[in-house]
Every structure is written in C-alpha cells, then in structure tokens.
C-alpha cells in the first residue's frame, strides 16, 4: 500500500456523485503493485437518506504512462458490468468518470471486495499459499470463473472489441500484428530472433474455431479470496477477444505455480485443471494450440517488456522495475525459441 496522493481532494466530487451528505474521505491510499492502471482505495464516511454510512471503494484511473499501449478504462468498466451480470465473480462497478476534471484522468469506481490477494512474482516461485482445506473449493471457483468468462455470450452483448468482426483465424493474425507494431515502435522488431518468432507464429497459426473473452492474466495474485472461496477475479486490463487456449496456456505457465509442488496457481495439478476445465466447459483442449498459445503469451510478454525497455532507455521511466523488465527481453527470447522448437518437433510428429 502506498502513500496518500498529494493535492487531491475528491470530497466535493464524491458528495455530488454519490448523492451523499457530510461526506468525508477518511483515508485514500494508492496500491503500489500495479504496473498499468493506477489503483486507489478510499475509505468513506457519509450520510445518505438520514443514515450514516461507512464504505470502502476502489478507484481505477488511467495511467499517465503505463506499460500497456492504449488505455480506455470505459471498456474494462463495461466488461466488468457485463460479466457481473453473467455471474462471473468480479467486483461490482459503480460508475465511470470520463472527464479529467475530478481526478486528472478518466477513472471508474467499484466496490472494495474483502479478502486476500496472493502476492506472486514470476521470477521467484513461492511456497504454497493456500491450505489443504481451502484448495479444493478455491480450485473449483478458479476453474468455474474462467469457464464462465469463456462461455460469456459477447456477441449478444453491447460490448465492443477490436476483433469482433470478421474471421476468427484472422483475429489471431491481427493480434500478432498488434504485438508486432508495439515491438517495432519500441525498436526491437529489427532483432532477427524476434523477426523469426513473429514470422513463424503467423505462418503456423492454427485454425481458430471460436472467439471468446480472454482474461489475459488469469492466475494467483489476480483473484481475491476469503474462507476458501474466490470472491472476485481482478485485473481485467489485458482482456480481449481470443482463443480460450490463450488463457489456458497462461494459466499453466510455470511462472504461476507453487515452487515445490508445481500446483497451477497454487491450487491444483495441471491434469486436474485440464480435466475440470474440459468437464465444466464441454470444450476439448488441443495440445498443439495449448503450446502455440504458449508462444503467443511470450510474444505478448515481449510486447510489454520491449515497451518498458524503451521507456526506461529514453528516460520516460526511472522506475527500476522497468529496468528489470528491459533485462527480461533476452530471457523471453530464450523461452520463445524453446517453444518454437517444441512446436516444430510436434509438427514433425514428435510428442507435444
């Protein structure tokens, strides 16, 4: 948790927005963990309908220069509202504020969900986070929420996505091209291994049967849990339309497993996850797609890390986390080549 933002007084704005009287912001603190949208916790006290209310809310504000390329938090706001209606465990969103007058940049407000968020760092796998008693119910919620997300009927919703029109397989190529553009702007497209990876992924893209909402960052650390249940899945800023295998490949990544047991998001074995996912969703997991989307995730990681490296190199960021991200580019190239080599072997009839 970080310090209270200086020189910001949201009292008048919140009083009017919430139809409250005598509103006081008792505490406002910034969550320092985020690398993209700014997140603030607000502890409020006010009177409404002659009743005294004490309420905690969360504000997610567009960043001034985040690691993700373009920001439009209204999309995340609308997505959360739609998913809540579809019974995905997400925080209840309250309102979206498009103007820059109240809080310097557009933001949205949502309820604060009580519970614990596991703190994980992909560079250092940690000890098992959940107790033996908690794991079975958390695991079931973990699978159930991603299945509900993938099953969400976005075509019959007001949500708008850049890839909602056209052929499903073309959407994958466009996704690769978007990553390619970002990498090029950061000055890394002219590296031969990145050129190889991008060309390879375009040439060997599998047929995509369906587009669904992909969370993009579904893992321990991005859900709030309490008493062995997942209360809310958070951090939807990477959500997009894509193949469900993209989420599955991300979920199964070694980065989010417990150090000793190798449990997926510290909850269950890989086999248990895949079995439960297939049973609950009715989908059949394709091993080739699983591995292919493992490479797409590395490309997505390169997109983000190359942007960090550019910001750091040009002095737009002095955050040493961006320095470490810049150093990660080479490791990601190593992983990308490893996955491409395995994919090539599998195309030649080797085991996946």
């Amino acid at each position: 948790m970080g310090a209270e933002p200086q020189g910001v007084d949201l009292t008048a704005y919140l009083t009017e927005k919430m139809g409250a009287e005598d509103l006081k912001v008792l505490k406002m603190s910034r969550v320092e963990q985020g690398m993209s949208a700014d997140t603030f916790f607000l502890d409020l006290a006010y009177t409404k309908n002659n009743e005294k209310v004490r309420e905690e809310i969360v504000i997610r504000r567009e960043p001034s220069g985040g690691i993700l390329e373009t920001y439009d938090l209204s999309k995340e706001f609308n997505l959360l509202g739609a998913l809540k209606a579809a019974e995905v465990a997400v925080p209840r969103v309250l309102w979206y504020e498009p103007s820059t007058e109240a809080f310097e940049r557009p933001f949205y407000a949502m309820e604060k969900v009580e519970g614990e968020v596991g703190n994980v760092d992909p560079r250092r796998p940690s000890k098992l986070m959940f107790s033996e008693q908690e794991r079975p119910t958390l695991a079931r919620d973990f699978v159930s929420n991603i299945v509900k997300t993938h099953s969400f009927d976005w075509r019959n919703s007001p949500l708008v996505f850049p890839d909602s029109g056209g052929d499903e397989s073309e959407a994958l190529i466009r996704q690769i091209e978007r990553h390619e553009e970002v990498i090029a702007r950061a000055g890394y497209r002219s590296h031969p291994i990145i050129a190889l990876g991008i060309n390879w992924l375009k040439q060997n893209a599998p047929e995509i049967d369906e587009l669904c909402i992909v969370h993009g960052d579904y893992r321990v650390g991005n859900f709030i849990s309490e008493d062995g249940r997942i209360r809310a899945v958070i951090d939807w800023e990477l959500a997009h339309l894509g193949d469900p295998h993209e989420d599955l490949a991300f979920i199964l990544s070694p980065a989010w497993r417990s150090a000793e047991e190798g449990l997926v998001s510290h909850l269950m074995t890989e086999a248990e996850f895949l079995q439960q996912y297939q049973e609950m969703s009715g989908r059949v997991v394709d091993p080739y797609k699983l591995m292919y989307f493992g490479a797409i995730i590395v490309l997505r990681g390169l997109d983000i890390m190359c942007s960090c490296a550019k910001n750091f190199s040009e002095g737009q960021s002095t955050d040493l986390r961006d320095g470490i991200h810049a150093m990660t580019v080479e490791s990601l190239l190593e992983v990308l080549l490893l996955v491409l080599s395995m994919l090539t072997m599998s195309q030649d009839g080797g085991a996946v």
Binding site: R124, S190, A195, L196
Partner: protein, 162 residues
C-alpha cells in the same frame, strides 16, 4: 537492442538518491549508501558491455543472414542491397565500442530483414522447412551463448526480508 549499461547505472543512482537515501535512518548505513552512490557515479563512465560478446552477437547475426541469403540465391531470389551490405567493422581488431554497436545494429537489422524475406518467399524456396530449422538452430545456439553469461538470480525474497 540492449539498454546501455550507462542508462542502467544512472537510473540506479537516481533511485538510490531520490528514493532510498531519504528513507535510510542509520547514520552508518547512510554513509555506506552515499559512498556506494558515489562509486557507481564514478564507474558509470567506465562500464560498457563486453566487446567479445558484442563481436559474437555480430557474428551470430551475420551467420543467420548469410545462411538465408545463400538459400535465397540458390533459389534465384533477388536479395535487396540493404540485406547484403557489410562493412566487416566487427572483425577489425581496432574497432571501438561505438563501431561495434553500430555494426551490431546494422547486422541485426539485415538479418531480421533476411528472415522476413525468407518467409515472404517461402513458396519459392526448395526445402523451406530445412532452412527454417537451420535458422531456428542457429538462433538457439546464439541465445544459449547469451544465456550462459547471465548472473545467477539473487534471492530477492531473502534480500527484502533482511
């Protein structure tokens, strides 16, 4: 492609001065930290990436490009001038760091352009699959040599808890 060593060091110095130093209360620790900052400051103009590694990168990028160009030529595919231009700077014993950096940037771009051309003309290349595997192998060998230079990762969890 890499962020320069000087950029890393100046950013570390900046964070130590603006963020870390004001929070350090122990007089002894403050003195030690101040000396560390000054040492980093003195060193930053003397630190560069190793020239032998940069020469190896140049050689690796050049080999990838040359293998692709040979295959393209065998298949009567015209190669644009910017891919084949080569000043051999990296192999000159007197080449300075700035020369090496320039040569590496140029060779990486030429090699990447060769990879793009290889895929663009894939239908005209006999046994494209073998060529692709060869390039994948060369890339793997290159990145493995780079990986061998990596320092072991520090146990940050244990550092932070001290």
């Amino acid at each position: 492609m890499s962020v320069s060593a000087k950029t890393y060091m100046s950013s570390i110095i900046d964070v130590l001065i603006k963020t870390v130093l004001p929070s350090v209360e122990s007089p002894f620790a403050r003195t030690q930290l101040s000396f560390a900052i000054d040492m980093l400051n003195q060193l930053q103009n003397h630190v560069e990436y190793r020239s032998d590694v940069m020469k190896d990168d140049c050689a690796a990028a050049k080999e990838m490009r040359d293998v692709i160009c040979a295959a393209l030529m065998e298949n009567d595919i015209e190669i644009p001038g910017e891919i084949v231009s080569n000043d051999d700077t990296e192999s000159q014993p007197e080449a300075g760091m700035a020369d090496l950096k320039g040569a590496l940037t140029q060779l990486e771009a030429a090699s990447a352009a060769a990879v793009d051309l290889m895929y663009e003309k894939r239908d005209r290349i006999k046994d494209f699959s073998a060529l692709e595997k060869k390039i994948l192998d060369l890339s793997n060998q290159w990145i493995q040599r780079r990986a061998a230079l990596k320092a072991p990762t520090l146990n940050l969890e244990s550092l932070e808890s001290q």
